[in-house]
């Protein structure tokens, strides 16, 4: 009778302890800010690894998402005689929602899992212990540059995703379906608000960048130092990141756009 309760209690305490460890790691990451600032080369290398190397998948995905939005939007809007509003529909969807969210999911899958595997393997092969023995803090030297790399790369990638998506919508709406190009751009220019839409979208992508990179680094750093442990860490990174991004997106949307 008490066994299930005890098990529930144990797993609850374990989950809380893990959450506490994750927050301690976050404090450590923030504590390494200065060390990263005085070693910009480490940061640039990570922006390259997380950002530049994710460009292709983000741009291609953005293009297709924009094209699909163009098609779907045209068929819905044309039923109400509002096909000229396609530009604003595509841009608002991308800048407010799809840009930050889909980019975060893509980065979690490509760069987040790679980060977790890299840190987990460094732990399994005692590289993190070796740094500790060389009196070098691995959180400051290895994890923090990756944290800020992800934080910087995410909004830039989301901006690229949205920009390419808008072009994808243009190719379909104007190029394929014959909408007026001037209406596509002018509606967008008139209705997309800088602070309401663009700034809020950027805030979302910064938050997602923080969460995805933090989850990836924590999963790698806390991984059991075995092949199975690293495998679990990469899987957890993608699953936890996806859930966190989607959940946070709802909360942020409610805060930003709710009445």
């Amino acid at each position: 009778m008490l066994d299930p309760l005890a098990r529930l209690g144990r797993s609850g305490i374990a989950a809380l302890a893990r959450l506490g460890e994750a927050h301690l790691l976050l404090v450590g990451l923030l504590g390494g800010t200065w060390d990263t600032l005085v070693r910009p080369r480490l940061l640039i290398a990570q922006v390259y690894g997380i950002g530049v190397l994710s460009t292709l998948i983000v741009v291609v995905s953005g293009l297709f998402v924009g094209m699909v939005l163009g098609l779907q939007g045209y068929y819905v809007l044309s039923q109400f005689g509002a096909a000229e509003s396609l530009g604003i529909m595509v841009a608002a969807s991308l800048v407010r929602e799809l840009g930050p969210v889909v980019t975060a999911l893509l980065v979690a899958g490509r760069a987040g899992s790679a980060l977790a595997a890299e840190i987990g393997l460094m732990k399994a092969t005692e590289q993190l212990s070796a740094l500790e023995m060389m009196a070098v803090d691995p959180i400051k030297r290895i994890l923090t540059p990756r944290f800020y790399g992800g934080l910087l790369a995410m909004p830039l990638l989301a901006a690229m995703f949205s920009a390419v998506g808008v072009l994808g919508g243009y190719f379909i709406g104007v190029g394929l379906l014959g909408l007026d190009g001037g209406a596509y751009w002018s509606q967008m220019q008139a209705k997309i608000d800088f602070s309401d839409d663009i700034v809020n979208g950027v805030i979302k992508s910064v938050v997602f960048g923080l969460v995805v990179t933090w989850i990836a680094l924590f999963q790698g750093y806390a991984a059991t130092p075995t092949a199975e442990g690293v495998s679990r860490a990469t899987t957890r990174t993608v699953v936890h990141s996806a859930l966190a991004v989607l959940g946070l997106d709802f909360v942020l949307t409610a805060l930003m756009f709710g009445e």
Binding site: E126, S129, E132, M133, M134
Partner: protein, 284 residues
């Protein structure tokens, strides 16, 4: 549950400590890994300036002992002092200052895989000194020359054999000219040539640089051939301690079995298990 060679009947050696002021002083050390008690009130001294061997069967906590000495793990009770400083009472900054005086050779080498051999050895120098790059280059080349691997300075660790990686790691461990080096199973998996080179290198480095070396190993003959002092640990206790010659001449039945690699004796090869026949018939 395979526990390797374990057994009873050997008498624990109490405070078998070498004379003189030790560099490392361990008193009443207790440490458990999960349910398993690895150290149960161990006293152990590491004398300055010599090579001290810590030997014992697999799984007795030899690597754990090095991690405890270097402050990577915290004991359940007892104290570990390095040069008079209680390792586990030090703050992070003080512990890092102490670690800059220690080098550790990991069993796997633990080289940073994204850096070349040269950059691996240069890493602690670049982190902890403000030496100009020209000076760092000279120092790194000298360290690599000492381990015979100056010729592979541009290679990545992934292209090296296990033995070569460990020699590069040794060059890195001595890069800051530490007072003490901890060697974790340095001879495991080495070919005879690498083994011979490593054995003489450890002794030579120790004597030439006035170091204190702790060699954790279960390779009895190689380790005792360069050790000034030796401890044998098992079952959470120190089973034997003394100079290398004294340990070699030990009359303890358990120690004799370990040193001579005998199948029969107080230490059991098999983990406790029910009768094999009953187990095979599914009656156990």
């Amino acid at each position: 549950m395979a526990e390797g060679l374990t057994g009873r009947g050997a008498s624990p050696v109490g405070a078998s400590v070498p004379p003189g002021e030790p560099l490392v002083r361990i008193r009443g050390l207790r440490f458990a890994h999960g349910e398993r008690l690895l150290f149960d009130g161990v006293d152990l001294d590491i004398p300055r300036g010599g090579v001290t061997a810590v030997m014992g069967p697999s799984g007795t906590g030899k690597t754990t002992l090095l991690k405890l000495i270097s402050g990577q793990l915290r004991p359940a009770s007892g104290t570990i002092e390095v040069d008079g400083q209680d390792v586990h009472r030090l703050g992070r900054a003080a512990l890092y200052r102490l670690r800059m005086r220690m080098g550790m050779l990991f069993q796997s080498g633990a080289l940073l895989t994204d850096l070349s051999v040269f950059d691996n050895v240069a890493y602690p120098l670049r982190e902890h000194t403000r030496l100009p790059e020209a000076m760092i280059r000279k120092l790194v080349l000298m360290k690599l020359e000492a381990v015979g691997l100056r010729g592979v300075q541009a290679q990545l660790p992934a292209t090296l054999s296990g033995g070569m990686a460990r020699r590069v790691a040794l060059a890195r461990a001595v890069a800051l000219d530490p007072d003490m080096i901890l060697y974790d199973e340095p001879f495991t998996g080495q070919d005879p040539i690498s083994m011979g080179v490593l054995v003489s290198l450890i002794r030579h480095l120790n004597d030439a640089s006035g170091l204190t070396s702790i060699v954790v190993s279960h390779d009895v003959s190689e380790t005792l051939s360069i050790a000034d002092y030796a401890y044998i640990i098992a079952d959470g206790r120190v089973m034997e301690a003394g100079t290398a010659a004294e340990v070699r001449a030990s009359r303890s039945e358990w120690v004799r079995q370990f040193l001579d690699g005998l199948p029969d004796g107080p230490a059991h090869f098999h983990a406790p298990a029910p009768d094999l026949m009953r187990d095979l018939l599914g009656e156990a």
